[in-house]
């Protein structure tokens, strides 16, 4: 079912190519105070805007807000069909965030991911598949609050890392 890397061949099968432009099933999250607090603690950011309700309420935001990369915890839903990942290992290539407005505790954020490009490169780790995805975050007022464009790199054979399918 999955294609394997071969000299002169491509790992990007027609089935894989068909995922370019396909949107994930929308998933909606309540932005909870304690999830934000836990995230801030995990990244080691002690800003009062994420964990001190009184100070955050008195700030220019008027509320507790989520850190800029809190979106990482709002996992997109599945695609309407199973993504045929050809490789076992994963590396994150980077992210580009665009922010229109802050996310406040109490917001409801709907997440949709779309693959915008797939290409392969050959390097030290053999053939590597590059996947560019654009993730949109829309709030309960139907306003696009942010987007994240990600580069995901997969490579290698063997036992699949259990988290590979999430990215």
């Amino acid at each position: 079912m999955t294609t394997s890397a071969s000299p002169g061949g491509t790992v990007i099968s027609d089935e894989l190519r068909s995922f370019v432009g396909l949107e994930s099933i929308p998933t909606t999250y309540d932005i909870e105070r304690h999830a934000v607090e836990r995230f801030a603690a995990a990244i080691g950011d002690s800003s009062h805007l994420y964990s001190n309700r009184d100070a955050a309420n008195a700030s220019s935001y008027g509320s507790l807000i989520a850190p800029p990369t809190f979106f990482r915890s709002l996992l997109p839903g599945d695609y309407p069909k199973a993504y045929p990942e050809p490789f076992a290992h994963i590396l994150d290539g980077g992210s580009k965030y665009r922010y229109n407005e802050p996310v406040k505790v109490g917001d409801r954020i709907t997440v949709v991911r779309k693959i915008t490009d797939l290409f392969e490169k050959h390097g030290r780790m053999g053939t590597m598949l590059f996947k560019i995805s654009e993730i949109s975050y829309t709030n309960q007022m139907d306003r696009l609050v942010a987007t994240q464009t990600t580069t995901t790199i997969t490579y290698g054979t063997g036992e699949k890392d259990s988290g590979v399918g999430d990215h």
Partner: protein
């Protein structure tokens, strides 16, 4: 270059006081594997190369590696802690060029590369990066923030 709130100790830079070449206060991190596990749980990122030494080795790494997204969170903190409550983060780009490992000092650095006013909004462009102990920038990036202008203040 900044007005510091005497109660909170927080610096709130004003657009007119910021100059190209200004250096941001460094944010220094020294993550251990416990922080990687905390981040895995908080971000729901359960890719095992971040907590399972065998899986990390199988993937070609000498040991577990730091989540790229955790590095971008630190670079986000570098920018947001500098811009203060009145600034707004508009863009954050990070590129993971080299892998970072726990139990090493990682220093977030940044400097101002451009200032401009667009539609009455004071915009500041920043070059940012995560510096390893040997000086290598493993994770270069950039950010765009808006700062309050003196007229509004």
């Amino acid at each position: 270059m900044a007005i510091t709130n005497s109660e909170t100790g927080i610096s709130n830079p004003i657009f007119e006081d910021v100059n190209i070449g200004d250096v941001l206060p460094e944010v220094v991190k020294n993550p251990d594997t416990r922080q990687l596990v905390m981040y895995a749980g908080a971000s729901q990122d359960f890719v095992a190369i971040h907590y399972d030494q065998n899986v990390a080795k199988e993937a070609g790494h000498p040991k577990v590696i730091i989540h790229g997204a955790l590095k971008s969170a630190w670079l986000g903190e570098l920018v947001t802690s500098w811009m203060g409550d009145e600034g707004r983060l508009l863009e954050l780009d990070v590129s993971y060029r080299a892998i970072d490992f726990p139990d090493a000092v990682a220093t977030c650095v940044g400097k101002v590369t451009d200032t401009r006013i667009v539609d009455g909004v004071g915009l500041v462009e920043l070059e940012i990066g995560l510096r390893q102990e040997d000086g290598t920038i493993s994770t270069p990036g950039r950010a765009l923030v808006s700062l309050p202008t003196r007229e509004i203040v």
